[in-house]
């Protein structure tokens, strides 16, 4: 099963574990993103995440479908938060369960790498003296 969600509400890691854990599960790999306090030596005040939600959900489902073709996994969760986040807040949680741990690790790594490359979600970093859409300019 695949559980995909984009929401303004805080993400919860235990919820994600509960969604992927089954009696057949031997291992779960989880990636938890976190808002860092610094970017290139500049102090981050907050982040603002925006999504093209309908397309982002489609792209996230494609990532899950690719995983299911590549590795013997059981369940996949991809939860992404949008809106205003502060340092230490969690913008993304990915959790993958599998009978054997190697598949869970590989699939979770693949999921976050793909998400960062393809899913139409954007973050703006707000510094003390300005703001910037991440990766927008060369």
């Amino acid at each position: 099963m695949t559980y995909i969600e984009i929401s303004e509400n805080p993400l919860d890691v235990q919820t994600c574990i509960n969604l992927v854990l089954t009696p057949e599960t031997g291992g779960i790999n989880v990636f938890v993103g976190s808002v860092r306090n610094m970017t290139n030596g500049k102090k981050v005040v907050r982040l603002e995440f925006e999504a093209y939600t309908s397309m982002a959900l489609k792209e996230m489902k494609k990532i899950a479908a690719s995983i299911e073709k590549k590795w013997p996994v059981i369940n996949i969760v991809i939860h992404h938060r949008t809106g205003v986040l502060s340092v230490g807040d969690i913008p993304v949680i990915i959790a993958v369960s599998a009978a054997h741990r190697d598949a869970a690790f590989s699939a979770c790594k693949f999921a976050i790498d793909e998400l960062k490359e393809k899913v139409p979600i954007w973050k703006k970093e707000i510094f003390e003296d300005g703001e910037e859409w991440v990766s927008a300019h060369p």
Partner: protein
């Protein structure tokens, strides 16, 4: 035809709104790109941007038709 182009992230700042309507002579994304870049030259300052039509990335050029949902996708930065 007249198409509506939805903006996200920095493109919303460039358009100064969530979407713009523009008239195109040729119904293709490559022509749309030219029209948009002449109206909003700041688009050319982006590292890269893609179009999405009906919530799917346009890989090369693509013919546009009435009712297509068109969006500009600047470099994504989720996660």
């Amino acid at each position: 035809m007249i198409v509506e182009v939805h903006a996200y992230g920095i493109v919303k700042d460039i358009f100064k709104k969530k979407s713009v309507q523009v008239e195109i002579q040729i119904n293709s994304t490559s022509h749309l790109r030219e029209v948009l870049e002449s109206l909003y030259p700041d688009l050319k300052t982006l590292s890269v941007y893609r179009f999405a039509v009906n919530e799917e990335y346009v890989l090369n050029d693509m013919i546009l038709k009435e009712g297509d949902e068109i969006a500009i996708i600047p470099p994504v930065s989720g996660g």
